[in-house]
Amino acid sequence: MSQPLRPSLARLTSLLTPAQQELLLRSTVLALTAVLAFVVRLFSVLRYEAVIHEFDPYFNYRATRVLVEKGLYEFWNWFDDTSWYPLGRDVGGTVYAGTMYSAALLFWVCRALGFPIDVRNACVFTSPLWASLTTLAMYNFTNEIAGGCDKTPGLLAAALVSIVPGYISRSVAGSFDNECVAIFALIQTFYLFLKAVNTGSLLWALACCLGYLYMVACWGGYIFIINLIPIYVIVMVSMGRYSHRLYVAYSVVYVLGTLLSMQIRFVGFQAVQSSEHMSAAAVFVLLQLYCLARWVQSLVPERTFREFLRLLVIGSAAALGLVALVATGTGYIVPWTGRFYTLLDPTYATKHIPIIASVSEHQPTAWASYFFDLHMLTVLAPLGLYYCFTALSDTVVFAVLYFACAVYFSGVMVRLMLVLAPAACAMGAIGATSLLRSFMTDVKGAMQESRMWNGHAAVSAAVSPSTSASLGSSIRSGRRLRVEIAAVTILGALLLTGSYVRHSTWATSEAYSSPSIVLLGHGPEGRIVIDDFREAYYWLGSNAAEDAKIASWWDYGYQIAGMGFRTTIVDNNTWNFSHIATVGALLNQPEERAYPIARMLDVDYVLVIFGGVLGYASDDINKFLWPVRIAGSVDPNIRESQYLTRRGEYRLDGEAAPAMRESLMYKLCYYRLRDINGGVDRVRGHKIPHLDFSLQHFEEAFSSERFIVRIYRVKPPRNRE
């Protein structure tokens, strides 16, 4: 088999010039990288099934179904009256729909090609597919940064990003979230912007605007782009690197990009009104003034120019200040949103906005997350930064800024590790290739030499005069050391890369591929699959009345709507703070006071998640302080301290606070626990003493197989006392 193959391969390669061979090799490697990026994300599909993960993806899936089944216009006008009961939600105007468009595109393309896939599969496989696209975008992006005709950094960056755990964590098959599509859009936009800066061409700037439009359609993180690019412009100007290319690129991207982003309904006039976008506008104006000043400078003598500059600065500063004052005073400019403010002042959310602080992905990052998500890139990326600083160019400045901002943001919020991961890959690739280049030259040189002069060495040794022998040998030993060190370094780099691959695969398989809707446990007979969530949601879907209203903590709203098809009171789109606080109050008040709230919200069922029987730690009892805090921020009568012991501890044993023991959540979770397993809570790790209570206004309707999901029916009010 291989015998006839080899001559034909040799004939093929002899047909190609070295440049063509290189191109062939490069595109093969790149294609393999893209395939790898797809394949490594399939762990969850192979281990479980093609299932949608976690919370938000269920909403995206539901929305995609609406988009595919009813069409684009219906989707834009979609008012969802089954969530946020009784308020409803204007989905078309409050969603970043790029994710759904992408999945719908995949669905339509597959259908057009004759593959009969359904919407769920299209949604599940959107994220791996877009991750493959990201590797291609990354290749271009890194090469644009590195410049030159050597394409190695790009290839390495593509390989690194295809398996970097920080990105995989949000883009395994089934985690159909905004981010999985948006990272591709982010890198692509940056690449196109750098291309525009490098060429000064309107065409590339226009392409960048389209990329930006896609990014805005996909994810709220587009704010990062519209702030990073102005910062870049400011830095470039203050470094004296202003050029007309930069001017063209930024002016086009700002004006057209803003106009395009306003076409997204969720953004709309925010693009010219909210404070997050104001820095871009200010930089746009400043850039025009700067350009004007330079133009005038080229026309008039120095003295006149100084005079002009004085007037220009004072005049424009006054005008800008006045505009800013008026705009803020009249309320035209909307102040910063809480999330953005948290990024600038990391302690803000914990102090003022519990609902942002309550989300686990908004927590600040500890060191282990960095190591876990980046592995060797934690070292290679700063090394790349070093090489960037030694050879600054227009694009390198951008890379440095992107990396620096991403590092800072990832420190504030753990979810923004996702934005850092590609930056670290680009930097790491630049670092590794720059470091290894000189070593590689040595090794290659030595290999060629030994091949060419194999027999020649003995002759030259005999011929060389004895006087210079000592000098020659010392030079030769120096060279041997160089080559040996080079070989060792390259070997070490290979080993390190191998450990990176192992780490990534392991992290993907163990940590990031769990759908968290189906759990895996270790029972006495090996692995057991715990499918309580879907069991309970299907129960709801088949047993509750069509128009039943389900109250639960907001985490489970999307899942109830996506799998149980019932109306929810609050869900993961946390747009109405007081509504969530009301549900929080429902859960943390005593039964007598919770019942009127439930009647008021017209609730038919209350759903709680309780892991005590199985030992599932992220249940409602462990989250309980958040409903308390959030309810307390609306109703000052509810205070966190009421639910803690006198020493300020959160306990459920004999010392549990009375308010805790009386709360509806406690009762719904621990109801009949003594009959179930004798009253042991396996998450808290002890027996629960206070279990002698009964429910008067609620009755148990359903508990899943392992009691993770417990659903209670709200009884109708009693006719007579």
Binding site: T304, R310, Q363, F371, V379, P382, G411, S438
Partner: protein, 174 residues
Amino acid sequence: MASTGKRGVHEEFGAADEVPWYDVPYHVTVAATSLLPQVPRLQLATPRLPRVRPFSAFLLCLFTYVLVTGGVMYDVIVGPPSMGQRVDARTGLMRPQTVLVGQLNAQYLIEGLFASFLYAVEVLALILLHYAHNSTRLDDPERQLAYGASLAAVLLSLTLQRALISVKVPNYLR
């Protein structure tokens, strides 16, 4: 050329004895502005970043990087203790514990700083390796020393890092 033209215009204005009607707004503006407080003479140059050596800038960045990847924001917001304690299984006594085992997104002060310090060591060692290999200013013993030091530092910190993550995540790579 443009400047002489401008001066000419000024002279024409200065020479005019009587004010034509269309110049009234000009003179009113001049009179009005003279009432305003005099703007101080400013020596303005376009703002420039101070000239820093690239390497110093890099060191500054590296320092910040080390702080952030060591979880300094986590330390500020959550405020963990610098070290913890655990009960020794054998003796039942309290023993100090430097690594918060098992939780990826939680840490003690010490372990975070130690971990990111290792990054810095590795980065600087790799830069030293690069320098040793490419600099023409080193003689042979110096070069050998630099090679040895950098490789040893890289090896040592990689090992330590591996050990640290194995303690942190008990089932690491298993």
